[in-house]
Symmetry: C2
Subunit: 442 residues, 2 copies
C-alpha cells in the first residue's frame, strides 16, 4: 500500500468520505446472504400490536434507518456490503476456520472437527458483524446518535466500537445488576467514547416510572429497551439499534457462514456434515447456518444444523411457536417465534447472551419447518466442554459458545458419528471477560 | 486438508508425536533471528555471583533445557523453529500489520503510521511467542513440569497455555497482591490446567521464611522467583521458565520483527523509518526491533528504534549501565544491564509488565552502543494516547503498549516528522483484562 491509494475525501456524513482507501482482503465477503430468498415459504410477518395487521415500513422509520428497514423486508438473495463496512470488517475478517486436531485426538473421535472463531473481533464476539453496518447505514441517512440496551454488555460494547469508528455518539442502557457487578464492559464502552447508563435510570420517563414503582429493582433487559427506545423516538437525529432477533441482524451475520463455505472448500471438504451453533436471540446461529442452509435448499447439499440452547432457557425445545412481544414490556411489534412467554424469568446462568424468552422469527421459522434441529444443554456440561476446548485448542470460549461445543462433543463421541464426518462448531466469542464464570469448574 | 495429512504418531515426549500435521501458513517464520550474530561487539556475558567469572552452560542445566541454554549462548544468525512450535504459532501468527488510517486522519499527520498487533494471541499479548518454544524444548528433553513466577499474570497465563497444548504440568507463583486483586488471570491459568499459588506461599522453604519474617507481606516478583526456582531446582523432572530478560527469550520474540519486514515489503514500503516499542524486561522491544536492527547493521538500512519506558520506572533513561542481579533477592547470575538497583521499588503503575528494575542485557547493550534510543513517557500521557488509539483504530491497547503509542503520536505530530515518514508502533497486547486501569481516563 503506498500513499497514493489513500483517499483524501473526508466529508461526513455519507459519500466517499466514509471510505478510507484501506485495503480489504478479497476473502472478506462483498455481499450478505438473505435466507428469505430461498425459503420454501416466507416467514410470518411482524404484526402491529394495536391492529394485528402486518407492520408497515413507515411504522419503523422513527427508530430505524430506511436502508435497514428495506433489508428487514427484503427477499433479495444477495445484498451488497458497502465498502466502508468492509474496511472495518477487515480489522478481523475473515475470521479463522481451524481444524481442532488436538481436540480430535483427545476425544479419539473418527470425525473431523473444525471451528469457526468469532472471538477475534476487537470486542471478542460476533456482535460487531451487525453493529458496524447498523452504525454505517444510520450515518449515511444523517443520524449522528444511536441508543441501545445491553445485558452483560457484549452488544453495547460492539455498538460503542462501531460508533467510535464512524465518529457517532452512542448511549447504552445497561441492566443495573450487570452495570454494577461487571464493570469491564461498561469501561470498554467508555473507552470507545460511549455513555453507559445503569437502567432503570433517571434520564427517561420510563426509567423514572420504573424506579418509582420498584425502588430496589436491579433492572431487566425489558426496562433497558424501554429507555433506549424512548430516547430514540423523541429525537429525530437519534435512532435505536438492536443486536439480535430482527431479520436485518440475521442478514449482517451471514458473513460468518459465507466465509465458512469458502474456507471449507479451501480445506478440501465437500461440505460440512453437521454444524453446531449456540442460540439465544438467534444472530449467531443464523449467521453461521443460513448461508449453508440456503445451499442445501438451492443445491441439494445435506448439511445438518443443530441450534444449541441452555436447558435453563429452552425457548426452542420447550417453548410455543406463536406470536409474542419481543420485549418484556410489550412495546415492540408482535413476532411469530418460539417463546417461553414474556413473563418467563430466566435463571441467572452465566451465558447472558442466551437468556432471552424468545427466538429470532427467521430462526424460529426454520426450526418450525424442520430445517434446524434444536437441542438443550445443561450449564455444567457446557462449561466442562469449554474447559476441554481451552486445554486442547488454546482458546477460552465464551459461556454462550460452550453450549455449541458441548453439543458437538457429545455428537463426536457418540456411537452414531460417521467415519470422517465433518463437524463444524460455531465459536461465537472468547470468554476473557467471563473468566469469573469458570471459577470452580476446573 | 484431508484426513491423510493428519499424522497418526502420538508418542510423547519428543519425536514426530509432537507434530500434528496441522497446516502452517508459509508466512509464519521458519527460523528465529539472533542479533548476537550481527552486533559489532558481543554483549557482556552473565557472571557467576560467587566468582565473578562468566557463567558456564552446565551451571544453568538444573533450571533450563539444554536447547535453550545453547540458544542463550548462540551466535548463529538463524535458529530453526521446530514444526510443533510453528503449528501452535499458527493459531495467531502471522500477527497483523495494519495501516492506522483513521488515526493518521485524526492527527492530521504527514506520516504513514502502521501498527504490528500482538494482542491477537490466545493470551492477548506477545508472551506466548516464547512460552510455546520454552515448553516444547523442555518437553523433548523429558521435562514434564515447568515452574515460573508472574506479576499481573500475562506471563503466567502464557506459560499455562503452552503447557496445556503440550500436555505438561505448570505451577505459577503469582505475587499475592495481584493474585487477590486481579483474579481473571489466575482463573485463566486454572482453565488451562495450571496451578497458581499466591506468593509467598507455604509450599516452599523460601516462601515460609518470607511469611515468617514479613507476616503481612503482599509479595513481590523477587519472592515469587525464589519460590519457582526452588521448586524447579529440587526436582530433576521440573524446570524453570522466564518470560523476559534472557537472550533466548529475545530470540523467540524475533518472530514479530521478522514478520514485520515481510509485511512492510508487501505493503510497498522500502523500510520503516522509525519503530516505537515499549520496554519493561525488553522482550517485546527486542522482538520487534532486533530483526530490523540486524538489517541496518548488515545492509545499511537506516531505521531508527525508540524503546519507550514509563517515567515511573526509568531504567534506560535514568539507570546505570552495570552488572546487577536480575532478581530482587540476588539469586540469579549477575547481568550487565541498565538498572535502577535491586532495591528500587517501582510505584504501582498500571503497566505491570514495565515494572522491572533492570533491562534485558541484549537490549541494554544495543542502547549502550547507541543503536536504540530510550525515552520515558508519563502514565497520564500514555493512557490518553491509548484512548485515542481505541477510538480511531478500534482496539483497546494494553497499558504497556500505550507507552509505545504515546511515543509514536508525539513524534507523528511534531514539527520534525518527515513527509511520508513510515512510523511503526509495536502494540504488544490488548487491554481487555486491564480495562480497570482505564477507569476515569475518558
Amino acid at each position: 500500500m503506498n500513499q497514493t491509494t489513500r483517499q483524501e475525501a473526508g466529508a461526513r456524513p455519507g459519500g466517499p468520505g466514509l471510505e478510507l482507501g484501506i485495503e480489504v482482503p478479497s476473502r472478506v465477503p462483498t455481499h450478505w446472504y438473505n435466507l428469505n430468498a430461498d425459503l420454501p415459504e416466507p416467514a410470518p410477518p411482524p404484526l402491529d400490536p394495536a391492529t394485528d395487521e402486518p407492520i408497515r415500513p413507515a411504522d419503523l422509520e422513527p427508530l430505524f434507518a430506511k436502508a435497514l428497514i428495506a433489508q428487514e423486508l427484503s427477499t433479495e438473495r444477495r445484498l451488497e456490503i458497502p465498502r466502508p463496512v468492509r474496511e472495518v470488517y477487515s480489522l478481523w475478517r475473515p475470521s479463522p476456520l481451524r481444524r481442532a486436531v488436538r481436540l480430535e485426538r483427545t476425544l479419539g473421535t473418527r470425525a473431523r472437527i473444525y471451528y469457526k472463531y468469532e472471538g477475534v473481533s476487537p470486542c471478542g464476539s460476533h456482535k460487531p458483524n451487525s453493529s458496524v453496518p447498523q452504525a454505517y447505514f444510520n450515518l449515511v441517512e444523517g443520524i449522528r446518535r444511536l441508543t441501545t440496551e445491553t445485558g452483560a454488555g457484549q452488544w453495547g460494547a460492539s455498538l460503542a466500537f462501531a460508533c467510535a469508528l464512524f465518529g457517532m455518539s452512542c448511549e447504552v442502557w445497561q441492566v443495573r445488576s450487570s452495570y454494577e457487578q461487571k464493570p469491564y464492559r461498561r469501561l470498554q464502552m467508555g473507552v470507545y467514547g460511549s455513555q453507559c447508563h445503569a437502567s432503570p435510570s433517571e434520564l427517561t420517563e420510563s426509567g423514572r416510572r420504573m424506579r418509582e414503582r420498584f425502588p430496589d429493582t436491579t433492572g431487566s433487559l425489558g426496562m433497558a429497551i424501554s429507555e433506549a427506545v424512548e430516547v430514540a423516538a423523541k429525537d429525530p437525529g437519534t435512532h435505536y439499534a438492536l443486536g439480535s432477533v430482527l431479520n436485518h441482524v440475521m442478514i449482517h451475520q451471514s458473513v460468518i457462514g459465507l466465509e465458512l463455505l469458502d474456507q471449507l472448500a479451501e480445506a478440501g471438504e465437500e461440505q460440512a456434515d453437521v454444524v453446531f451453533a449456540c442460540a439465544g436471540g438467534g444472530s449467531n446461529a443464523a449467521g453461521i447456518i443460513f448461508p449453508l442452509l440456503g445451499r442445501n435448499l438451492r443445491e441439494g447439499s445435506t448439511t445438518r444444523f443443530v441450534a444449541v440452547e441452555p436447558a435453563a432457557c429452552p425457548s426452542m425445545t420447550r417453548g410455543e411457536y406463536r406470536y409474542d412481544f419481543g420485549d418484556v414490556a410489550g412495546m415492540t411489534p408482535k413476532l411469530k417465534m418460539y417463546t417461553l412467554g414474556t413473563d418467563f424469568v430466566p435463571p441467572a446462568i452465566h451465558a447472558g447472551g442466551l437468556r432471552y424468552h424468545g427466538m429470532s422469527p427467521m430462526v424460529s421459522h426454520a426450526v418450525h419447518l424442520g430445517l434446524i434441529e434444536p437441542i438443550a444443554v445443561e450449564q455444567d456440561r457446557s462449561f466442562e466442554a469449554g474447559v476441554l476446548f481451552a486445554r486442547t485448542e488454546g482458546i477460552v470460549p465464551a459461556p454462550e459458545s460452550t453450549h455449541a461445543i458441548a453439543g458437538a462433543l457429545d455428537h463426536a463421541t457418540s456411537a452414531g458419528v460417521g467415519d470422517g464426518e465433518v463437524i463444524v462448531i460455531g465459536v461465537s466469542g472468547n470468554g476473557v471477560l467471563d473468566l469469573a464464570a469458570y471459577d470452580g469448574r476446573f
